[in-house]
């Protein structure tokens, strides 16, 4: 259980997908105008990351590896299968949101289907493979990474709501300011890199 929290905390804060690796920028910048839509998209990302990560782990372990069902090395299919899993999950989320919250569906617009090509999702799955996580760790990494993404988009949405009342030069207002704030947040988050939660647990 301790391992679960280590990976979770690390994925959410220390190695935040947005602010440390700059993954998933497109929807992060475009949907962070208000906290309300940012909240909805953040939840959708947590859901998609949390579900696709264990599924992709099972695929990588039992279908594609040499010890898997087919008994041969099929890793060249990894990218296509991962993307297919992600795309079907996103399609599922889209149908659920359209049915139960049409206003959120309209507010998210094109960025809901674009979760599929949110690099944070595919990047997360690839990180999971390259870091050789087991099933528990990959669940923790999916939920933690999604939670970190959620926190980052809520943080910038809140900053952007406040900054609307500041005397920013007109051409820089909105998108331009969001870019610069994200750069500053990224530099601030670099100070967290290298912290190892496991080291605290063992002391």
């Amino acid at each position: 259980m301790g391992e679960f929290f280590n990976v979770f905390i690390k994925a959410a804060f220390v190695e935040n997908l947005v602010l440390a690796y700059f993954l998933g920028m497109c929807s992060y910048l475009a949907v962070s105008k208000t906290v309300k839509t940012a909240f909805g998209l953040g939840l959708a990302v947590i859901f998609v990351l949390g579900i696709t990560m264990p599924i992709n782990w099972l695929i990588a372990e039992y279908l594609l590896s040499e010890n898997g069902v087919f008994g041969m090395d099929l890793t060249f299919l990894r990218l296509i299968l991962f993307i297919a899993v992600i795309a079907s999950m996103v399609q599922l989320v889209e149908m659920i949101v359209e049915k139960y919250s049409p206003s959120l569906y309209n507010a998210l617009g094109i960025f809901l289907p674009l979760i599929t090509v949110n690099c944070a999702i595919l990047g997360g799955s690839l990180f999971m493979v390259s870091r050789e996580y087991d099933l528990t760790q990959s669940v923790a990494f999916g939920l933690g990474g999604g939670f970190g993404w959620f926190l980052a988009i809520i943080a910038i949405a809140a900053i952007r709501e406040k900054i609307r009342y500041s005397a920013v030069p007109a051409p820089l207002r909105g998108l331009g300011m969001a870019f610069i704030i994200t750069g500053l947040m990224g530099i601030a988050f670099m100070s967290l890199m290298g912290i190892d939660p496991a080291a605290f647990a063992s002391n």
Partner: protein
């Protein structure tokens, strides 16, 4: 954005005012990076050097143009529920074509870029244009829209890369065979170009090598673009 389909009869490969607009719009008024906010991740990842950015831009123009063309040809046969999977299969096959072609043409650059080429699959510009334009328009117009958006993306990418490489490493076009050490004392990067650089006192700015620098530069680009193109200014 001209996103409604043109209804009247027209020749298959017409190239009139509307078609020119499809090519020129994404360069300024509807730029994929600075206005539509698509494809930021790769803009951050590859722009620390110029040569990878140029190759990347060419690859994106190709993938964007042909995925728009094929999606537009198939648009009436794709059921709405599985459209994303169909689009991704089209994009993934085109990216594979690009990868193999580059491997054949120039192996060193392929080795240098292989990760980034794979990233085109998750580049939101490609899929964004398929969703927003190609699913509702005829093949030729969709093709032009893809070319235009690829070019708009490439223009920003190369401008950011020029600034980052010049100030971060003091060189330009490193790795292309015509690499030049422009500013700063040439010490460790290129042994064959030792003398005659300008501003020998300049020390490389390591901030420019960080991805965060690309955020600042794109932010400043948006500032400049919107100060002369006032209709883009965000009023809210």
């Amino acid at each position: 954005m001209a996103e409604t389909a043109v209804q009247e009869k027209e020749p298959l490969l017409a190239f009139g005012k509307n078609e020119q607009k499809l090519l020129s719009d994404p360069l300024n008024d509807n730029n994929p990076i600075t206005v539509q906010v698509l494809g930021i991740c790769s803009a951050l990842a590859v722009t620390s050097l110029v040569v990878p950015s140029v190759v990347m831009s060419i690859a994106v123009v190709f993938v964007c143009a042909f995925s728009s063309l094929f999606t537009s040809l198939l648009r009436n046969y794709i059921p709405k529920q599985v459209r994303m999977i169909v689009q991704l299969v089209i994009i993934a096959s085109l990216v594979t074509v690009v990868e193999l072609t580059l491997q054949f043409l120039n192996y060193p650059i392929y080795k240098q870029l292989s990760v980034y080429i794979g990233l085109i699959i998750t580049n939101c510009i490609v899929m964004g244009r398929l969703e927003a334009f190609a699913m509702a328009n005829k093949p030729w117009r969709s093709f032009l829209d893809g070319v235009g958006n690829g070019l708009g993306y490439g223009a920003i990418l190369i401008m950011v890369a020029l600034i980052r490489e010049l100030f971060g490493k003091g060189s330009l076009f490193a790795g292309s065979g015509i690499e030049m050490k422009i500013i700063g004392a040439s010490t460790d990067y290129f042994i064959n170009t030792q003398t005659n650089t300008w501003f020998a006192w300049y020390a490389n700015n390591n901030l420019m090598v960080l991805p965060a620098a690309a955020m600042f530069i794109i932010g400043i680009f948006i500032w400049i673009q919107r100060s002369y193109n006032t209709k883009l200014v965000d009023i809210s």
